[in-house]
């Protein structure tokens, strides 16, 4: 779960990092009030869970409260990267001496937390990293020991940071690491982390995302995240989410139901290989394998679906339980699209028997044959209505 900047800054502030004086506004009037309370030049930033706002015109400056109202109005009418702007953050401008970059993230390669630090922070950090990777320090942390001041000083040692600032920057890294741990973040990034002329270290931005597996124990953080900051979903995708199923609408006409993300992605690849296009990605693997009935109704509620392909390879997910759910749904819904099955693995014999006896359909031995048949059936059906889906967009 990606947090909006102002939400992330609350976590940073609670963790002892300095952030600028600011306020959230959802109208031009509110923006004017915040700006006049701050009483100096302000920056107005669209609150959307996506990167590169500076480069897409979603961060603007204002010298007066009236100007803040004006730019807020402009930003609130925008969509950035597919996210409509519902809120802006109005913030005092910092007196910047130097822009730094700091992040802590989960690193699959070292299998632990990784601290990234650079004295060349700011909008071009990716280019800096590409052109001069030696300017971005990479420091793996032993999670059982954590990051202390001494180790953080080693991270900043050897950079061109002024000696006087080292202690304060190292302290900010320790605190950022604390926020990362306390909030179960998989990424806690501050870009820029600035050194002010007064010698303070201030976080001017916050990109924090919470590890999905940790959401159940991060109730307070999750509850404070607005719905609008999450993925943009279609109606069917939203219904799927409510049922605890991950559905992604695609633009093809072969409805797909499979178990497990890997097998479902593969089913889509094989449909594509034989010249078809899948209408959806929907997997009922893991604990969701008992949800075949609601899952199938979601697939069939998509008006573009011209044939249905059911592909089960049971490991943990029992194919007999999934087949029972599918058969029950088909008996109830009686869709007028042809259905093609291929079933293997745990519970296979019982599953095949169920499909054969209750639906009068013979499952295919080979997945490729089932896919070919489903693709051919969709191709020979009437042309699909032209309802373009608005798909879920992530990152």
């Amino acid at each position: 779960m990606k947090l909006l900047e102002h939400h992330g800054k609350q976590l940073l502030e609670r963790g002892g990092l300095r952030v600028p004086v600011s306020g959230v506004a959802s109208s031009a009037e509110e923006a004017r009030d915040v700006a006049s309370r701050i009483g100096s030049r302000v920056v107005v930033k669209a609150q959307v869970p996506t990167g590169k706002r500076g480069k897409s015109g979603a961060v603007l400056f204002a010298d007066s409260a009236d100007e803040a109202a004006e730019v807020a109005e402009r930003l609130l009418a925008l969509s950035v990267d597919g996210y409509p702007v519902h809120e802006v953050l109005v913030e005092e401008c910092a007196d910047i001496e130097r822009e730094l970059y700091a992040a802590v993230l989960n690193d699959p390669v070292s299998k632990g937390p990784l601290v990234l630090f650079s004295t060349s922070g700011g909008m071009d950090i990716e280019e800096v990293n590409r052109a001069t990777p030696e300017l971005v320090r990479r420091h793996p942390v032993d999670i059982t020991r954590g990051l202390d001041a001494e180790e953080a000083l080693e991270v900043v040692a050897g950079t061109d940071l002024p000696d006087a600032a080292r202690g304060a920057v190292a302290d900010a890294l320790v605190r950022l690491y604390g926020v990362y741990r306390d909030s179960d973040a998989d990424l806690a990034e501050v870009n820029p982390l600035v050194l002010t002329r007064a010698g303070d270290v201030v976080a001017l931005d916050a990109k924090i995302s919470i590890d999905p597996g940790s959401e159940p124990r991060q109730e307070a953080v999750v509850a404070a995240a607005p719905e609008s900051a999450q993925e943009q979903l279609t109606e069917l995708e939203r219904r799927g989410r409510e049922l605890g199923l991950q559905l992604i609408e695609l633009d093809g006409d072969v409805g797909v139901l499979a178990n497990g993300a890997g097998l479902t992605m593969t089913t889509l690849d094989v449909v594509h290989h034989y010249g078809g296009r899948a209408a959806n990605f929907l997997e009922i693997g893991g604990d969701a394998y008992t949800k075949a009935t609601p899952a199938l109704s979601l697939v069939l509620d998509n008006p573009r679906v011209k044939s249905l392909l059911v592909n089960f390879c049971g490991a943990f997910a029992r194919t007999d339980v999934m087949a029972e759910g599918v058969v029950a749904a088909l008996e109830e819904l009686r869709p007028d699209v042809p259905v093609f099955f291929t079933i293997h693995g745990t519970g296979e014999e019982e599953a095949v028997r169920l499909v054969r006896e209750r639906l009068g359909v013979e499952p295919y031995d080979l997945m490729d044959d089932a896919v070919r048949a489903a693709v051919a059936a969709a191709a020979s059906a009437a042309p699909a209505p032209s309802t373009a889906p608005v798909s879920a967009e992530v990152r």
């Binding site: 989960n106 690193d107 699959p108 390669v109 299998k111 632990g112 937390p113 032993d142 999670i143 059982t144 741990r181 179960d184 998989d186 590890d211 999905p212 597996g213 940790s214 159940p216 124990r217 993925e231 991950q246 992604i248 695609l250 499979a258 178990n259 497990g260 993300a261 890997g262 097998l263 479902t264 992605m265 593969t266 889509l268 690849d269 094989v270 594509h272 290989h273 990605f281 997997e283 693997g285 893991g286 604990d287 390879c313 049971g314 490991a315 943990f316 997910a317 293997h344 693995g345 745990t346 296979e348 080979l366 997945m367 490729d368 798909s391 879920a392 967009e393 992530v394 990152r395």
Partner: protein
């Protein structure tokens, strides 16, 4: 990590519905399940074995070479640390949705004590004819059969399909290693490929990857040094970019995580990359792998001679 027929396995969370069910199924596959662990439920008997309150107690009475965790995600850290601190050297970590920082902590402790971890979010591993540790259908003869092809897969369901295709094509497996679908894993694709490369009974390797992460690219550098034939399939190549597909690892992040990047890296390394799983059998044959007797010689030089795709 591989678990052989002589090794003793305990089941943590054995008193749960899945733990007891899969304990029996693992035993049917030949796995030596010697005890179970469920805190607070010691003294019972489940699936024909004694239940203990902790791994240390079980280890005091039994030889324990490996443990498999059937525990819910929020209890997984404690259970895994229990096993690691009791000195168990092989930990199969099945749970999905385990907090990533818990996983990293378990992996750090495991590294200190010299234990290997498979998972989390894995379906486990199978040595056909010997053992099945986890939730794979090791008991299904149309899917698993003793042979000489080693299979590495992130996904259990896709791994099942690939193993089915191998048996249909006349091959058997020396081992199936499910490494798991999470971004942070105890055993990476590279680790598993190394294990299979070192395994005498493995004459060829099938590498099943997915879009997202950089594990396949990292493994490719090692594949280039191997003499055993490698056939790879990368799932999700037709998925629209930027879509989250359920496995946290399967997120297209940048150039390196994409299907094209993985295919290019593996092809460059000399592996044969197939478009769909049903082509794996033919690709193995073309790369010089022989079905049938596990001791059949593998003509390692054939790989250089056979152009990929």
């Amino acid at each position: 990590m591989l678990v052989r027929s002589g090794e003793s396995v305990i089941v943590q969370g054995i008193t749960g519905r899945q733990g007891s069910y899969w304990s029996q199924r693992m035993a049917e596959c030949g796995t030596r399940v010697v005890a179970g662990v469920s805190p607070g439920k010691g003294g019972r008997e489940v699936a024909g074995v004694r239940v203990y309150d902790s791994v240390a107690e079980a280890a005091a009475r039994h030889q324990v070479d490996a443990t498999v965790l059937f525990v819910p995600p929020m209890a997984a850290r404690e259970a895994a640390l229990d096993a690691v601190s009791a000195g168990v050297r092989k930990v199969v970590f099945l749970a999905e949705h385990v907090p990533a920082q818990d996983v990293m902590e378990v992996l750090a402790r495991a590294r200190e004590s010299g234990a290997q971890v498979l998972g989390p979010n894995t379906a486990g591993l199978v040595v056909p004819g010997e053992t099945s540790v986890g939730i794979m259908p090791g008991f299904a003869p149309n899917i698993f059969r003793p042979g000489n092809v080693g299979v590495v897969s992130r996904s259990g369901s896709l791994g099942t399909l690939v193993c089915l295709n191998l048996v249909t094509a006349g091959f058997g497996q020396s081992a199936f290693v499910g490494i798991g679908g999470d971004p942070i894993l105890g055993t990476t694709t590279l680790d598993a490929v190394r294990t299979l490369d070192a395994d005498e009974r493995t004459h060829a390797v099938v590498l099943v990857g997915e879009i997202g992460g950089v594990m396949e690219e990292e493994a490719a550098a090692y594949v280039a040094t191997m003499t055993k034939p490698v056939v790879a399939y990368i799932a999700g190549r037709t998925a629209p970019p930027g879509k989250r597909m359920g496995h946290a690892g399967a997120i297209v992040t940048d150039g390196r995580g994409s299907g094209e990047s993985k295919v290019a890296a593996l092809t460059e390394a000399g592996a044969t990359v197939v478009d769909v799983p049903s082509q794996i059998g033919d690709a193995l044959r073309a790369a010089g792998a022989q079905a049938g007797e596990p001791d059949a010689a593998v003509r390692s030089s054939v790989r250089e001679a056979s152009p990929s795709r």
